[in-house]
Symmetry: C2
Subunit: 200 residues, 2 copies
Amino acid sequence: MAGTAGPEIERLIQLLAKLPGLGPRSARRAALHLMKKREALMEPLAAAMAEAAEKIRPCSICGNLDVSDPCTVCRDPKRGDSVLCVVETVGDLWALERAGAFAGKYHVLGGVLSALDGVGPDDLNLASLIERAGNGSVSEVILALNATVDGQTTAHVIADRLAHTGVSITSLARGVPVGGELDYLDDGTLAAAFRSRRPA
Amino acid sequence: MAGTAGPEIERLIQLLAKLPGLGPRSARRAALHLMKKREALMEPLAAAMAEAAEKIRPCSICGNLDVSDPCTVCRDPKRGDSVLCVVETVGDLWALERAGAFAGKYHVLGGVLSALDGVGPDDLNLASLIERAGNGSVSEVILALNATVDGQTTAHVIADRLAHTGVSITSLARGVPVGGELDYLDDGTLAAAFRSRRPA
Protein backbone atom coordinates (compact mmCIF):
# COMPACT_ATOMS: atom_id res chain seq x y z
CA MET A 1 0.00 0.00 0.00
CA ALA A 2 2.63 2.48 1.01
CA GLY A 3 4.65 1.56 -2.06
CA THR A 4 8.07 2.86 -1.20
CA ALA A 5 7.88 2.20 2.51
CA GLY A 6 9.66 -0.88 3.79
CA PRO A 7 7.91 -4.08 4.90
CA GLU A 8 8.09 -2.91 8.53
CA ILE A 9 5.82 0.07 7.81
CA GLU A 10 3.54 -2.06 5.60
CA ARG A 11 3.09 -4.56 8.40
CA LEU A 12 2.38 -1.84 10.96
CA ILE A 13 -0.28 -0.34 8.66
CA GLN A 14 -1.87 -3.74 7.99
CA LEU A 15 -2.13 -4.52 11.71
CA LEU A 16 -3.47 -1.06 12.58
CA ALA A 17 -6.15 -1.48 9.89
CA LYS A 18 -7.53 -4.44 11.85
CA LEU A 19 -8.53 -2.20 14.77
CA PRO A 20 -12.25 -1.39 14.88
CA GLY A 21 -12.81 2.14 13.63
CA LEU A 22 -9.69 2.23 11.44
CA GLY A 23 -9.70 1.39 7.72
CA PRO A 24 -6.72 1.15 5.36
CA ARG A 25 -6.61 4.91 4.86
CA SER A 26 -6.89 5.91 8.51
CA ALA A 27 -4.40 3.15 9.41
CA ARG A 28 -1.86 4.87 7.15
CA ARG A 29 -2.56 8.18 8.86
CA ALA A 30 -2.23 6.52 12.27
CA ALA A 31 1.09 4.90 11.26
CA LEU A 32 2.48 8.25 10.07
CA HIS A 33 1.28 9.90 13.28
CA LEU A 34 2.98 7.17 15.33
CA MET A 35 6.27 7.58 13.46
CA LYS A 36 6.09 11.34 13.89
CA LYS A 37 5.54 10.98 17.66
CA ARG A 38 7.94 8.12 18.18
CA GLU A 39 9.03 8.87 21.73
CA ALA A 40 5.78 10.43 22.95
CA LEU A 41 3.40 7.85 21.53
CA MET A 42 4.74 4.89 19.52
CA GLU A 43 7.20 3.60 22.12
CA PRO A 44 4.82 3.96 25.11
CA LEU A 45 1.95 2.42 23.13
CA ALA A 46 4.07 -0.54 22.06
CA ALA A 47 5.11 -1.05 25.68
CA ALA A 48 1.54 -0.68 27.01
CA MET A 49 0.30 -3.22 24.46
CA ALA A 50 3.04 -5.70 25.25
CA GLU A 51 2.33 -5.29 28.98
CA ALA A 52 -1.41 -5.74 28.51
CA ALA A 53 -0.86 -8.79 26.30
CA GLU A 54 1.33 -10.32 28.97
CA LYS A 55 -0.67 -9.49 32.09
CA ILE A 56 -4.35 -9.19 31.28
CA ARG A 57 -6.43 -12.36 31.45
CA PRO A 58 -10.15 -13.12 31.67
CA CYS A 59 -11.41 -13.61 35.23
CA SER A 60 -12.13 -17.31 35.78
CA ILE A 61 -15.27 -16.46 37.76
CA CYS A 62 -17.05 -13.72 35.79
CA GLY A 63 -15.15 -13.32 32.49
CA ASN A 64 -14.09 -9.70 33.14
CA LEU A 65 -10.61 -8.70 31.91
CA ASP A 66 -8.07 -7.81 34.57
CA VAL A 67 -4.46 -8.30 35.64
CA SER A 68 -5.61 -10.37 38.62
CA ASP A 69 -7.71 -13.53 38.70
CA PRO A 70 -10.29 -13.37 40.29
CA CYS A 71 -10.76 -9.82 38.99
CA THR A 72 -11.02 -6.64 41.08
CA VAL A 73 -14.84 -6.74 40.97
CA CYS A 74 -15.08 -10.37 42.07
CA ARG A 75 -12.57 -9.80 44.89
CA ASP A 76 -14.26 -6.62 46.18
CA PRO A 77 -15.67 -7.45 49.66
CA LYS A 78 -17.96 -4.38 49.52
CA ARG A 79 -19.93 -5.87 46.59
CA GLY A 80 -22.77 -8.23 47.44
CA ASP A 81 -22.93 -11.80 46.18
CA SER A 82 -26.70 -12.04 46.04
CA VAL A 83 -27.34 -10.13 42.80
CA LEU A 84 -25.70 -11.20 39.55
CA CYS A 85 -25.75 -8.89 36.51
CA VAL A 86 -25.37 -10.70 33.17
CA VAL A 87 -23.77 -8.66 30.35
CA GLU A 88 -22.74 -9.53 26.81
CA THR A 89 -19.24 -8.06 26.78
CA VAL A 90 -16.60 -6.55 29.04
CA GLY A 91 -17.38 -3.23 27.34
CA ASP A 92 -20.94 -3.44 28.71
CA LEU A 93 -19.55 -4.18 32.17
CA TRP A 94 -17.39 -1.05 31.91
CA ALA A 95 -20.41 1.00 30.80
CA LEU A 96 -22.44 -0.11 33.84
CA GLU A 97 -19.48 0.59 36.13
CA ARG A 98 -19.12 4.08 34.65
CA ALA A 99 -22.82 4.66 35.33
CA GLY A 100 -22.25 3.51 38.92
CA ALA A 101 -25.65 1.85 38.81
CA PHE A 102 -24.80 -1.54 40.26
CA ALA A 103 -22.90 -2.77 43.31
CA GLY A 104 -23.17 -6.55 42.90
CA LYS A 105 -21.19 -9.04 40.84
CA TYR A 106 -21.16 -9.50 37.08
CA HIS A 107 -21.19 -12.38 34.65
CA VAL A 108 -19.79 -11.72 31.15
CA LEU A 109 -21.36 -14.00 28.53
CA GLY A 110 -18.77 -13.16 25.88
CA GLY A 111 -21.42 -12.55 23.20
CA VAL A 112 -24.99 -13.52 22.37
CA LEU A 113 -26.60 -16.55 20.78
CA SER A 114 -26.78 -16.03 17.03
CA ALA A 115 -27.88 -18.59 14.47
CA LEU A 116 -26.62 -16.29 11.72
CA ASP A 117 -23.10 -16.02 13.17
CA GLY A 118 -23.09 -19.64 14.32
CA VAL A 119 -22.86 -18.79 18.03
CA GLY A 120 -24.41 -21.56 20.15
CA PRO A 121 -24.78 -21.97 23.95
CA ASP A 122 -21.40 -23.72 24.15
CA ASP A 123 -19.64 -20.67 22.71
CA LEU A 124 -20.77 -18.50 25.64
CA ASN A 125 -20.07 -18.56 29.38
CA LEU A 126 -23.54 -20.00 29.90
CA ALA A 127 -22.82 -23.21 31.85
CA SER A 128 -20.80 -21.27 34.44
CA LEU A 129 -23.69 -18.79 34.78
CA ILE A 130 -26.21 -21.59 35.49
CA GLU A 131 -23.78 -22.96 38.05
CA ARG A 132 -23.20 -19.59 39.77
CA ALA A 133 -26.91 -18.74 39.79
CA GLY A 134 -27.73 -22.09 41.39
CA ASN A 135 -25.08 -22.04 44.12
CA GLY A 136 -27.53 -20.89 46.79
CA SER A 137 -26.14 -17.40 47.52
CA VAL A 138 -27.69 -15.73 44.46
CA SER A 139 -31.24 -14.39 44.84
CA GLU A 140 -31.56 -12.28 41.66
CA VAL A 141 -30.13 -12.42 38.15
CA ILE A 142 -30.38 -9.16 36.16
CA LEU A 143 -30.22 -9.75 32.40
CA ALA A 144 -28.54 -6.54 31.17
CA LEU A 145 -28.34 -7.64 27.54
CA ASN A 146 -28.64 -5.38 24.51
CA ALA A 147 -32.16 -4.64 23.30
CA THR A 148 -31.39 -6.36 19.99
CA VAL A 149 -33.07 -9.45 18.55
CA ASP A 150 -30.09 -11.65 19.41
CA GLY A 151 -29.75 -10.07 22.86
CA GLN A 152 -33.39 -10.68 23.69
CA THR A 153 -33.32 -14.24 22.30
CA THR A 154 -30.35 -14.92 24.54
CA ALA A 155 -32.19 -13.41 27.52
CA HIS A 156 -35.13 -15.76 26.90
CA VAL A 157 -32.86 -18.80 26.70
CA ILE A 158 -31.09 -17.83 29.93
CA ALA A 159 -34.40 -17.20 31.74
CA ASP A 160 -35.56 -20.61 30.55
CA ARG A 161 -32.46 -22.38 31.81
CA LEU A 162 -32.57 -20.59 35.16
CA ALA A 163 -36.26 -21.31 35.75
CA HIS A 164 -35.54 -24.39 37.85
CA THR A 165 -33.19 -22.54 40.23
CA GLY A 166 -36.02 -20.38 41.61
CA VAL A 167 -33.89 -17.18 41.60
CA SER A 168 -35.72 -14.04 40.55
CA ILE A 169 -34.86 -13.01 36.97
CA THR A 170 -35.16 -9.38 35.92
CA SER A 171 -34.19 -7.30 32.91
CA LEU A 172 -33.47 -3.59 32.37
CA ALA A 173 -36.45 -1.23 32.07
CA ARG A 174 -37.48 0.01 28.62
CA GLY A 175 -38.38 3.65 28.21
CA VAL A 176 -37.44 7.10 27.00
CA PRO A 177 -33.68 7.64 27.40
CA VAL A 178 -32.61 10.58 29.58
CA GLY A 179 -32.45 13.63 27.29
CA GLY A 180 -34.37 11.76 24.60
CA GLU A 181 -36.85 13.56 22.37
CA LEU A 182 -40.09 11.70 21.66
CA ASP A 183 -40.12 12.76 18.02
CA TYR A 184 -36.83 10.96 17.40
CA LEU A 185 -37.64 7.74 19.28
CA ASP A 186 -38.60 4.56 17.46
CA ASP A 187 -42.16 3.22 17.80
CA GLY A 188 -41.11 0.21 19.88
CA THR A 189 -39.46 2.34 22.55
CA LEU A 190 -42.39 4.76 22.66
CA ALA A 191 -44.90 1.91 23.00
CA ALA A 192 -42.80 0.28 25.75
CA ALA A 193 -42.52 3.60 27.62
CA PHE A 194 -46.30 3.98 27.45
CA ARG A 195 -46.97 0.47 28.72
CA SER A 196 -44.56 0.94 31.62
CA ARG A 197 -45.82 4.43 32.55
CA ARG A 198 -45.73 5.33 36.22
CA PRO A 199 -47.10 8.00 38.57
CA ALA A 200 -45.31 11.34 38.02
CA MET B 1 -12.70 5.71 32.22
CA ALA B 2 -13.04 1.95 32.37
CA GLY B 3 -13.74 2.16 36.07
CA THR B 4 -13.02 -1.37 37.19
CA ALA B 5 -10.22 -2.07 34.75
CA GLY B 6 -6.70 -1.85 36.13
CA PRO B 7 -4.25 0.97 35.36
CA GLU B 8 -2.72 -1.17 32.56
CA ILE B 9 -5.96 -1.12 30.58
CA GLU B 10 -6.56 2.56 31.40
CA ARG B 11 -3.15 3.45 30.06
CA LEU B 12 -3.65 1.42 26.88
CA ILE B 13 -6.98 3.17 26.24
CA GLN B 14 -5.50 6.62 26.88
CA LEU B 15 -2.65 6.00 24.43
CA LEU B 16 -4.93 4.51 21.77
CA ALA B 17 -7.18 7.59 22.07
CA LYS B 18 -4.24 9.71 20.85
CA LEU B 19 -4.27 8.04 17.44
CA PRO B 20 -5.90 10.14 14.71
CA GLY B 21 -9.37 8.78 13.98
CA LEU B 22 -9.88 7.29 17.45
CA GLY B 23 -11.67 9.09 20.29
CA PRO B 24 -12.10 7.93 23.91
CA ARG B 25 -15.06 5.72 23.02
CA SER B 26 -13.52 4.02 19.99
CA ALA B 27 -10.23 3.68 21.89
CA ARG B 28 -12.09 1.61 24.49
CA ARG B 29 -13.56 -0.55 21.73
CA ALA B 30 -10.11 -0.93 20.15
CA ALA B 31 -8.59 -1.93 23.52
CA LEU B 32 -11.29 -4.57 24.06
CA HIS B 33 -10.77 -5.86 20.53
CA LEU B 34 -7.02 -6.08 21.14
CA MET B 35 -7.49 -8.01 24.38
CA LYS B 36 -9.92 -10.36 22.67
CA LYS B 37 -7.42 -11.03 19.87
CA ARG B 38 -4.34 -11.15 22.02
CA GLU B 39 -2.26 -13.59 20.03
CA ALA B 40 -3.59 -12.69 16.57
CA LEU B 41 -3.42 -8.92 16.93
CA MET B 42 -2.20 -7.36 20.19
CA GLU B 43 1.13 -9.18 20.42
CA PRO B 44 2.04 -8.76 16.70
CA LEU B 45 1.00 -5.09 16.76
CA ALA B 46 3.05 -4.39 19.89
CA ALA B 47 6.05 -6.06 18.21
CA ALA B 48 5.53 -4.23 14.90
CA MET B 49 5.33 -0.91 16.73
CA ALA B 50 8.42 -1.58 18.79
CA GLU B 51 10.30 -2.62 15.64
CA ALA B 52 9.16 0.45 13.71
CA ALA B 53 10.06 2.71 16.65
CA GLU B 54 13.52 1.20 16.73
CA LYS B 55 14.34 1.00 13.03
CA ILE B 56 12.47 3.67 11.11
CA ARG B 57 14.19 7.02 10.74
CA PRO B 58 13.75 10.03 8.43
CA CYS B 59 15.97 9.97 5.34
CA SER B 60 18.74 12.55 5.73
CA ILE B 61 18.44 13.53 2.06
CA CYS B 62 14.70 13.77 1.34
CA GLY B 63 12.91 13.38 4.70
CA ASN B 64 11.06 10.17 3.72
CA LEU B 65 10.62 7.55 6.48
CA ASP B 66 12.46 4.26 6.00
CA VAL B 67 14.58 1.67 7.76
CA SER B 68 17.59 2.68 5.67
CA ASP B 69 19.25 6.07 5.32
CA PRO B 70 19.36 7.22 2.51
CA CYS B 71 15.86 5.82 1.90
CA THR B 72 14.85 3.29 -0.76
CA VAL B 73 13.70 6.06 -3.11
CA CYS B 74 16.90 8.09 -2.81
CA ARG B 75 19.06 4.98 -3.32
CA ASP B 76 17.09 3.72 -6.35
CA PRO B 77 19.46 3.98 -9.37
CA LYS B 78 16.50 3.75 -11.78
CA ARG B 79 15.08 7.05 -10.55
CA GLY B 80 16.43 10.19 -12.17
CA ASP B 81 18.14 12.97 -10.22
CA SER B 82 17.07 15.79 -12.50
CA VAL B 83 13.47 16.24 -11.33
CA LEU B 84 12.67 16.92 -7.68
CA CYS B 85 9.10 16.63 -6.42
CA VAL B 86 8.37 18.67 -3.28
CA VAL B 87 5.63 17.31 -0.99
CA GLU B 88 4.32 18.40 2.41
CA THR B 89 4.31 15.06 4.20
CA VAL B 90 5.46 11.45 3.87
CA GLY B 91 1.77 10.55 3.42
CA ASP B 92 1.71 12.70 0.25
CA LEU B 93 4.86 10.92 -0.99
CA TRP B 94 3.11 7.57 -0.45
CA ALA B 95 0.03 8.82 -2.32
CA LEU B 96 2.14 9.84 -5.35
CA GLU B 97 3.99 6.51 -5.25
CA ARG B 98 0.69 4.63 -5.17
CA ALA B 99 -0.44 6.62 -8.21
CA GLY B 100 2.84 5.64 -9.90
CA ALA B 101 2.92 9.08 -11.49
CA PHE B 102 6.51 10.06 -10.81
CA ALA B 103 9.89 8.39 -11.25
CA GLY B 104 12.23 11.08 -9.89
CA LYS B 105 13.32 11.98 -6.39
CA TYR B 106 11.26 13.58 -3.63
CA HIS B 107 11.77 16.25 -1.02
CA VAL B 108 9.52 16.12 2.06
CA LEU B 109 9.00 19.57 3.61
CA GLY B 110 7.51 18.20 6.81
CA GLY B 111 4.59 20.64 6.74
CA VAL B 112 3.67 24.03 5.32
CA LEU B 113 4.33 27.59 6.36
CA SER B 114 1.56 28.78 8.64
CA ALA B 115 1.45 32.04 10.54
CA LEU B 116 -1.54 30.74 12.49
CA ASP B 117 0.23 27.56 13.68
CA GLY B 118 3.54 29.38 14.11
CA VAL B 119 5.35 27.35 11.43
CA GLY B 120 8.18 29.39 9.88
CA PRO B 121 10.77 28.54 7.19
CA ASP B 122 13.18 27.16 9.81
CA ASP B 123 10.62 24.57 10.92
CA LEU B 124 10.56 22.99 7.45
CA ASN B 125 13.19 21.17 5.37
CA LEU B 126 13.50 24.30 3.26
CA ALA B 127 17.23 25.08 3.46
CA SER B 128 18.09 21.54 2.34
CA LEU B 129 15.67 21.91 -0.58
CA ILE B 130 17.34 25.13 -1.77
CA GLU B 131 20.69 23.37 -1.49
CA ARG B 132 19.56 20.26 -3.41
CA ALA B 133 17.85 22.32 -6.12
CA GLY B 134 21.00 24.40 -6.61
CA ASN B 135 23.51 21.54 -6.80
CA GLY B 136 23.61 21.57 -10.61
CA SER B 137 22.01 18.20 -11.37
CA VAL B 138 18.41 19.35 -10.83
CA SER B 139 16.61 20.84 -13.82
CA GLU B 140 13.01 20.93 -12.56
CA VAL B 141 11.31 21.26 -9.18
CA ILE B 142 7.67 20.14 -9.07
CA LEU B 143 5.74 21.76 -6.21
CA ALA B 144 3.20 19.04 -5.34
CA LEU B 145 1.74 20.89 -2.36
CA ASN B 146 -1.87 20.79 -1.21
CA ALA B 147 -4.24 23.23 -2.92
CA THR B 148 -4.87 24.95 0.40
CA VAL B 149 -4.08 28.56 1.32
CA ASP B 150 -1.06 27.52 3.42
CA GLY B 151 0.10 25.05 0.76
CA GLN B 152 -0.04 27.67 -1.97
CA THR B 153 1.63 30.33 0.20
CA THR B 154 4.45 27.87 0.82
CA ALA B 155 4.69 27.15 -2.93
CA HIS B 156 5.08 30.88 -3.61
CA VAL B 157 7.79 31.24 -1.00
CA ILE B 158 9.69 28.23 -2.40
CA ALA B 159 9.38 29.51 -5.99
CA ASP B 160 10.71 32.85 -4.79
CA ARG B 161 13.72 31.33 -3.05
CA LEU B 162 14.53 29.08 -6.01
CA ALA B 163 14.29 31.90 -8.57
CA HIS B 164 18.06 32.57 -8.51
CA THR B 165 18.95 28.91 -9.25
CA GLY B 166 17.42 29.06 -12.72
CA VAL B 167 15.75 25.62 -12.42
CA SER B 168 12.28 25.35 -13.90
CA ILE B 169 9.56 25.38 -11.24
CA THR B 170 6.21 23.73 -11.92
CA SER B 171 3.13 22.84 -9.95
CA LEU B 172 0.36 20.22 -10.33
CA ALA B 173 -2.42 20.96 -12.83
CA ARG B 174 -5.80 22.18 -11.53
CA GLY B 175 -8.93 20.70 -13.04
CA VAL B 176 -11.84 18.33 -12.80
CA PRO B 177 -10.85 15.21 -10.80
CA VAL B 178 -11.25 11.86 -12.58
CA GLY B 179 -14.83 10.69 -11.94
CA GLY B 180 -15.77 14.17 -10.71
CA GLU B 181 -19.20 15.63 -11.42
CA LEU B 182 -19.31 19.30 -12.41
CA ASP B 183 -22.38 20.00 -10.29
CA TYR B 184 -20.50 19.02 -7.13
CA LEU B 185 -17.27 20.89 -7.87
CA ASP B 186 -16.41 24.15 -6.16
CA ASP B 187 -16.28 27.34 -8.23
CA GLY B 188 -12.51 27.72 -7.97
CA THR B 189 -11.86 24.28 -9.46
CA LEU B 190 -14.40 24.82 -12.25
CA ALA B 191 -12.89 28.18 -13.14
CA ALA B 192 -9.37 26.72 -13.13
CA ALA B 193 -10.47 23.81 -15.33
CA PHE B 194 -11.99 26.30 -17.79
CA ARG B 195 -8.88 28.48 -17.91
CA SER B 196 -6.65 25.45 -18.50
CA ARG B 197 -8.94 23.84 -21.12
CA ARG B 198 -7.21 21.89 -23.85
CA PRO B 199 -8.02 20.35 -27.25
CA ALA B 200 -10.23 17.26 -26.82
